[in-house]
């Protein structure tokens, strides 16, 4: 079981923060990396989309949306009843776990491509679809604890946030252009691993920066932040098997179930649930679940999938 080379940059970023180095990616470059990754993933998925029929995609997409809506319903009772969190904080954190992390997905895709393992090319569509239902479920779970959400603003944030817009935009352009995407692929395809490495360097630093918050929040945060990805991965893998996906697809859906959002969901919930403690949810997903997925879980999932297939 080997870690992918890009994970080395994540560890380097974390190390730099722990030894208090002045290493820091300029904010503009970090944002550029995010935009690049979203477009690259979307384009690749869009170009592959044309070879699949709607009859295949529609039921699978519906199943994935239901899966995304169910995950917060698993996370919420744990946080509310065992963690003794307030209803609104538990609902907000649960929404993070129903949604997905594009960075985690990118690491998984990089690992698959470095091993030469094939997967269903339309997976970026699932990534975009999984961003939405958990946010809605999270808001509904918090109902009663908060005043009615401004659904117009929330709807706008969900539909047009940077992540969803660029992913869906990339998929649409890729599907429309088909083979013509080859002209931009020297940039979006060949540089993917390099840009992901830069992005992970900063992510490692940010995750390590949040470690004191983890310590302050207590051991429950650590327990939940490790358990929930494992539950999500088991659910994702089971669903992928039911849908008849390839081993690469089973691995990717497990990774999507395992990941937790820290960009799209916090932005949407800042509008919908401003009372929620955003810091604790972001600490949970960014400082515990993301490093756990990248360093430990993803290699384990791949080893399991390869073992069983």
């Amino acid at each position: 079981m080997q870690l992918d080379i890009v994970v080395g940059f994540f560890i380097l970023g974390a190390f730099a923060q722990l030894v208090r180095s002045d290493l820091r990616l300029p904010a503009g470059l970090y944002k550029s990396c995010v935009i690049f990754l979203l477009i690259a993933i979307g384009l690749k998925g869009g170009a592959a989309l044309s070879s699949y029929s709607a009859a295949t995609l529609l039921p699978q997409s519906l199943a994935v949306v239901v899966f995304g809506a169910l995950l917060p319903l698993v996370a919420f009772p744990i946080l509310y009843w065992i963690g003794r969190w307030s209803r609104v904080d538990a609902a907000a954190a649960a929404a993070h776990y129903g949604s997905v992390s594009v960075a985690t997905y990118a690491v998984a895709v990089a690992l698959l491509s470095s091993r030469g393992i094939d997967y269903e090319g339309y997976f970026p569509l699932f990534v975009a679809l999984l961003e939405v239902p958990a946010i809605l479920v999270g808001i509904l779970l918090a109902r009663g604890a908060v005043a009615d959400a401004n659904w117009k603003k929330v709807g706008h944030e969900i539909a047009f946030n940077q992540g969803v817009l660029l992913l869906l935009g990339g998929i649409a352009i890729g599907a429309w252009a088909g083979e013509r995407t080859a002209s931009v692929m020297p940039f979006f395809g060949n540089l993917f691993h390099g840009v992901l490495a830069l992005f992970l360097l900063e992510m490692g630093r940010v995750a390590a920066e949040k470690l004191p918050d983890v310590r302050a929040q207590g051991a429950f945060l650590l327990s939940f932040g490790i358990l929930m990805p494992l539950i999500g991965a088991a659910g994702g893998a089971a669903l992928a098997v039911l849908l008849g996906l390839s081993p690469g697809g089973i691995f990717l859906l497990a990774v999507l179930g395992s990941s937790a959002s820290y960009i799209a969901v916090p932005a949407a919930l800042a509008v919908a649930l401003p009372q929620a403690n955003a810091s604790v949810s972001i600490t949970l997903s960014l400082a515990i679940t993301f490093p756990f997925n990248v360093l430990v879980a993803i290699p384990v999932y791949l080893a399991l999938v390869q073992h069983w297939s």
């Binding site: 065992i82 963690g83 207590g218 051991a219 429950f220 650590l222 327990s223 490790i226 080893a303 073992h307």
Partner: protein
């Protein structure tokens, strides 16, 4: 940290450790998952002990203050 959180943490740690040990012993994965499980167990144990050490120390101090010699000295 309340008792339910502690028990939950210990259960999660035990399950993750067990999964890690099974995967390691069957040669599927390395020991990283088992190590994470152990870390959860240790973290929960450490938090529980740290939280309950302070009241115990205070209780002991209270007992000392209420002991006959302490009371005789007017403490």
């Amino acid at each position: 940290m309340v008792k339910a959180q502690f028990l939950f943490g210990m259960a999660v740690g035990a399950v993750v450790s067990a999964m890690g040990v099974v995967l390691t012993s069957s040669g599927i994965a390395d020991g990283s998952l088992a190590a994470v499980g152990l870390l959860i167990l240790l973290a929960n144990g450490a938090y529980w002990l740290a939280q309950h050490r302070t009241p115990l120390a205070a209780l002991r101090l209270g007992n000392l203050r209420n002991s006959p010699p302490a009371r005789q000295q007017g403490h």
